[in-house]
């Protein structure tokens, strides 16, 4: 256990530590870091990602109403639904698995919230744990109400809030990590104002893309052609903007950012956004076929869309999942940029303005 604990106060470092006040702040000097919340946060984030995959598969296969009741499954308690029935019908398998993983994520969130409340000395972390608990309850309730009301709008909201919960779980991983606490290991670089401010833009842009994507995936049957066309164009334009932003962050940050996190994160974000754009194009192809202009002017390929094929399911769902991964990566980048920026400012305090006589 001792190697898991990082002393925050060591001689000359002490003064510096007290000046670093990123929010949520590192542990106060002299206090020790409990490793369990970090492990639990990892477990939560790792469980939430497959949950997003499974939710994406449910939507891709149109299996959202495969189980008409909630919180029970065909009258059975969620955990007591017979294995044979669970595996017998594909749609039921998807929806029931989604619910089971969701329940697992809910239980993990309860344990994490309790762990933060008991072990973490920072008040903000206690409330973040409580927020995660509220988030998972809200998310589950949205999913349930979507089923009970057979309501597409709630399905859309359920699809939009899932990445937010994933982002919160991932933020908790960062905030409880050893690196976040280890002030002495942070190498102050030049001020990170650009990447800090732009980090928020990226987070917002990617989240907006997720919302637009959810809107395209959960179309009301009688939605107008004009709206769908508008969403698609907005999705495309914003995709180009996010791609440009991610590449700019990577290119600008490559030479300047000193901290390893701020070198690795932009690289990862750029890679994920490139993959995401390619998956987006592939999603259109496996869903609506190869555009005529492409076959006319680029490549005379003959492709038949196969509804419900494994290729269609994997590509479309991967597009959903990688979108969430890009969101948490952008958020992590933003958090680390702010963290390193504050460390840098505390090492090189701005000169005080001379008093005017």
């Amino acid at each position: 256990m001792s190697d898991e604990r990082v002393s925050a106060s060591r001689g000359p470092e002490e003064d510096r530590t007290t000046r670093i006040t990123d929010s949520p702040s590192p542990l106060p000097p002299g206090s020790s870091r409990c490793a369990w919340p970090h492990r639990l946060a990892w477990a939560l984030a790792c469980a939430t990602f497959p949950l997003i995959w499974m939710g994406g598969l449910v939507t891709t296969y149109g299996a959202g109403m495969a189980v008409p009741d909630w919180p029970n499954t065909f009258g059975y308690n969620l955990f007591l639904y017979p294995l044979q029935s669970w595996l017998a019908v594909w749609d039921v398998f998807l929806e029931h698995s989604h619910r089971l993983i969701g329940a697992g994520v809910g239980l993990l969130t309860i344990v994490l919230a309790a762990g933060l409340w008991i072990c973490d000395g920072r008040r903000s972390m206690k409330w973040l744990g409580a927020a995660a608990l509220a988030g998972v309850v809200l998310q589950g309730t949205l999913g349930g109400l979507r089923v009970l009301g057979n309501e597409i709008f709630l399905a859309k909201v359920h699809g939009c809030t899932a990445p937010l919960f994933f982002a919160l779980a991932s933020a908790l991983v960062t905030l409880t990590s050893r690196g976040w606490h280890a002030h002495e290991r942070i190498e102050p670089g030049p001020p990170q104002a650009w990447s800090t401010r732009f980090g928020w833009v990226m987070v917002l842009g990617i989240y907006l893309q997720i919302v637009l994507g959810a809107n395209l995936r959960h179309q009301a049957p009688d939605a107008s052609v004009g709206w769908f066309r508008l969403w698609v164009w907005l999705h495309l334009i914003l995709a180009g903007s996010v791609l440009a932003g991610a590449c700019a962050l990577w290119a600008v940050g490559r030479g300047r950012l000193g901290h390893p996190m701020l070198v690795r994160r932009p690289r990862l974000l750029a890679a994920l956004v490139v993959v995401q754009v390619l998956l987006g194009l592939a999603t259109w192809v496996v869903r609506y076929g190869v555009p005529v202009w492409f076959t006319d002017y680029v490549w005379k390929v003959v492709y038949t869309v196969e509804a419900g094929s494994p290729l269609q399911a994997i590509v479309v769902t991967a597009h959903v999942a990688v979108g969430s991964l890009a969101l948490v990566t952008a958020l992590s980048l933003r958090m680390w940029a702010a963290r390193v920026g504050r460390a840098a400012r505390s090492d090189n305090p701005a000169p005080t303005r001379p008093a005017v006589a």
Partner: protein, 363 residues
Amino acid sequence: MVGLCLVAGCGWNPPPEFELNLEGRPRKSVSAEQREAIAKMLQRLFGTPDRPQVPDGVGLDRSLVEMAAGPPGGDAQGNQRGLYRRHCVTCHGVTGDGAGPSAALLDPYPRDFRRGVFKYTSTKAGIKPLASDLRGTLTRGVAGTAMPSFAQLAPRELDALVEYVKYLSIRGQAEQYLFEQVVDDEARLPLDLGQVLDEGVLPAARSWEAPERNPELVIAPGPRPPVDTPEALAASIARGRDLYASKDAQCVRCHGPQGDGNGEEKELYDDWNKPKKGVTPEQTAELERLYKLPIQRLRPRDFRQGNFRGGVGPEGRHLYYRIYAGIKGTPMPGVGPSPGAPGVMTSEDIWHVVDFVRSLSRK
């Protein structure tokens, strides 16, 4: 949450309703009273998207129609319902007007079922498709378009979708009759249910039953000339090339001498887009405003791609159907005999053209 609502399109979704077919008509040309009379009559006869009805005397399987209609769902045994809304509505729309949410971005547009005209059939010109034709399109998909293959669906689910497409089609034809009566002929209101059933609904239903009952209306390909040796195949292809270029067949006008779809005829439109075409661009723009989807030009097939949207079939049988009866609702004419027309090619000739067309994609 407010921001999310603004972007995501806020609002609880009421059950979708069938939309009146006002396309091609200025809105003011149909009074509110006329609209209400038509909508009420259609609802009385055909119900709503969530609770469809099959009018008496219409030979549709009610249980299959109900299985395809309504919101998607299923039971513990895997029995599905709401199949149309789950698989088709995004492109074809609730009413089957081919103007679902995604339609505007697709080329070609999804089929508008309301006219009862379907492109890829094994029936003679002017005749409705067989159920097996629709089922074939569902399982095969239409290569090079957004129409997917639903080969993974269970046979009963495919039957349900076929039945629902027929239901929407008969409903659309009945609606067309009602508009003609109420708006064009200004029939006295309220409408007589018996008359609408006898003159508008049942004739449409019978036109769907006709090819299923009368084999004369279905294309029966004649014996295929033997092409079991390379020499025989080459001779068939050469004969097919001559027929392809002949004045009677007129294939080159659209498909071009090389079969690359680059013929002299450039302004081609199918029956769904032709009414949107005016003499001048201004007229076209004005007409387009009366429709949900803008005008879309038709492209003759480039045979070199090997992409035959109606499929090739065993030994090119589906190509035979296309050449024999044409592609319904498009300028592609049929060359085989049909009720009231003698045709310009024999069965053997058509097989030769099939061999020639297929040879282009092998190059």
